[in-house]
Amino acid sequence: MKFSHFAAASAASVIALSSHAAAQTQIDWWHAMGGELGEKTEALATAFNATQSEFVVVPSYRGSYAETMTGAIAAFRAGEQPDIVQVFEVGTGTMMAAQGAIVPVYQLMANAGVDFDPSAFLPAVVGYYTDPEGNMLSMPFNSSTPILYYNRNIFEAAGLDPNTPPTTWAEVEEFSRQIVSSGAAECGFTSRWVSWAQLENFSAWHNQPIGTLQNGFGGLETELTFNGPVQVRHWENLARWEDEGLYRYAGPGGGNDAGPAFYSQTCGILMESSAGRAGVMANATDFEVGIGMLPYYDDVDGAPQNTIIGGATLWVLSGGSEEEQRGVAEFFNFLSSPEVQAQWHQDTGYLPITQAAYELSQAQGYYEANPGADTSIRQMTLNEPTENSRGLRFGNYVQIRTVIDEEFERLLSGAVDAQGALDAVVERGNALIREFEDANG
């Protein structure tokens, strides 16, 4: 097969790969950012490579989050792992438990002797990814939290005040009813990420536990507990609202149909990641968008507490040379510098990870120019996080999310009631957590 060498050579020459000098240490970075975010992600590597000549970071798109993570694990098992891999937040439990496979960020920084101040980071963002002693395990890269978007034109047509988003679930119901009965739109509200927005964040926002042992931060022997009365009440309501046409279910996982339902003005309110802001604005071609915080039940004690993040972080895999690890440390240092962070935050809508980057964005007047862009940060930092609202950490959580979607679907189809659905989630979820504990114990 001679032709393949020829083709490889010609392909390589077409793409004009930057020929790196032999002295440079190559750092492989696998990421899951497709589309425009992918371009912005790769631009970060290019910018870092331009600042120094010792290391060259080579980013490589590896498919969806799940594909990237499994690809990296397969590569690790074959001894071909990259230095850095981007892992979504629900993979955190798996990565943390793999002690021989990862290098915690705090240790990496200490080994490399890079000046690194953990207190510079926003606790609400970094807290999700620290060990019980508060040491940072992975580098937050793209973090966001669910917020509420609404269609001002529909609000106006329904006789609602376009400047007042609903703040409580009672208002969501009332507004939705008015939207539907006035004929302003077909449905009141829809939501992406049912599991993330309507169960996990819902629990944190109402200061309700998701699981025992500080939502799993305390150890592998944790158990799920989100079948409490507050969550049951909310799911019961969602099922009733779906039945009455006030709420529209948008599918499992990310709920891909939610965006189209909102953009086509079928639904007046959308609950979606704060990082989706740019996309929402770009696709809302025929109407004005307003932004608000997630709604809460005002008769629940402690609500609203604070919401938790989602998104992905960068994990360092072991096996790289000392030089490579030093390069990774330098790269992370570069990523967390205020200018780079502020730029990334403003370009993408992801949360800034340091206080300095947030303040820099304020100083640059970004939030005045983009009303609603700081809703996510205010919502995340509304109160000092409690045991219930720091985040969550369970093994096999990717599968547990699937279980949550399934039971929610069963609830909506009328096969079970809310209590039954959440009990089933807890039971099936705990079995998955036990399996994980067995495999990693």
Partner: protein
């Protein structure tokens, strides 16, 4: 197993002819498959850092789990429906093309080229077409038939969607083989039957269908294998196995549990069961079907 009445006598040659296929199969299929068998008896973490031998526990857990039994049921319904739809539609189209003297080739071209769409992309297209909010099909169903399509919540809608999408991908393929099969049936046979007074339907049942049986058998096997093993791109892009596992077929479950869930032990056990299933399936087919197939 069937062979020729007469054969060549060479001793070494057949091995030489088989060598490339066997080497590739051995390295890239049998070896990984053996690994899967090994993994199915282990419990290990995702990175393979520590593992314990657990005997048959992965299998016991599977057979105890209602999700797995549900996946079996879903697979049977999905496979049978898809195979019938895909074979039926393409046979009808092939028969129609076979009647055409001048326009046959034009129709063939028009029917075959959509086969070029990648499954990953076809999934996206079906997602578009059946999207409850912006899709054209729910709109048509609602406007003309008053049917409220929602495959996100109604299990039967979801099943119809994945069956249609999976069958669509296979129609062109089956069509191509049926056309080739039909054209290899000697015209003289059909003419003779027509002279004997057999009408078009009688001729189809007594002449065409039996003579098509090698093609049909081949397609049957290929289509079953297709529905069982090669449909996740379609399912992944449209229903993701939902709602509430209503379209979670066996191979999608292997994929989800192993590739997404990183539960390699259980996923490997499921693969092994699937391998066993196919061995049995093909064995049965060879024993019972091949005897009845006329060549």
């Amino acid at each position: 197993m069937q062979t020729k009445r007469t054969i060549f006598g060479n001793k070494g040659l057949p091995y030489l002819l088989l060598a490339p296929q066997l080497i590739i199969t051995g390295i890239f299929f049998l070896w990984p498959a053996a690994q899967a068998v090994r993994q199915s008896f282990l419990r290990e973490d995702a990175f393979g850092l520590n593992f314990t031998f657990v005997g048959l526990r992965n299998y016991e857990r599977l057979l105890d789990s209602p999700e797995y039994l549900n996946a079996i049921k879903v697979t049977v319904i999905f496979s049978i429906s898809t195979v019938i739809l895909a074979l039926g539609v393409s046979l009808v189209l092939a028969l129609a093309v076979d009647r055409m003297i001048r326009s046959g080739r034009a129709y063939t071209t028009l029917l075959v080229w959509p086969y070029a769409v990648a499954p990953a992309v076809a999934g996206i297209l079906w997602w578009f077409i059946f999207n409850p909010t912006i899709g054209i099909m729910p709109y048509v169903l609602e406007t003309f038939f008053g049917y409220d399509w929602n495959h996100l919540l109604t299990p039967s809608d979801a099943m119809i969607l994945v069956v249609v999408a999976a069958a669509w991908k296979q129609i062109s393929y089956n069509f191509l083989f049926f056309v080739a099969g039909l054209q290899s049936i000697p015209n003289s046979l059909r003419e003779a039957a027509a002279i004997d007074g057999a009408g078009p339907f009688k001729r189809f049942w007594t002449i065409t269908l039996p003579l098509l049986s090698p093609t049909t058998f081949f397609l049957l096997v290929v289509n079953i294998v297709y529905t069982l093993f090669e449909t996740f791109a379609v399912i992944d892009a449209t229903t993701e196995g939902g709602p509430a596992q209503a379209t979670n077929i066996l191979v999608y479950k292997v994929f989800r549990d192993g590739f997404v869930g990183l539960n390699f032990g259980s996923s490997a056990a499921q693969s092994v069961i699937l391998m066993g299933l196919v061995i049995v399936l093909t064995f049965v087919q060879f024993r019972f079907v091949e005897r009845r197939v006329t060549y």
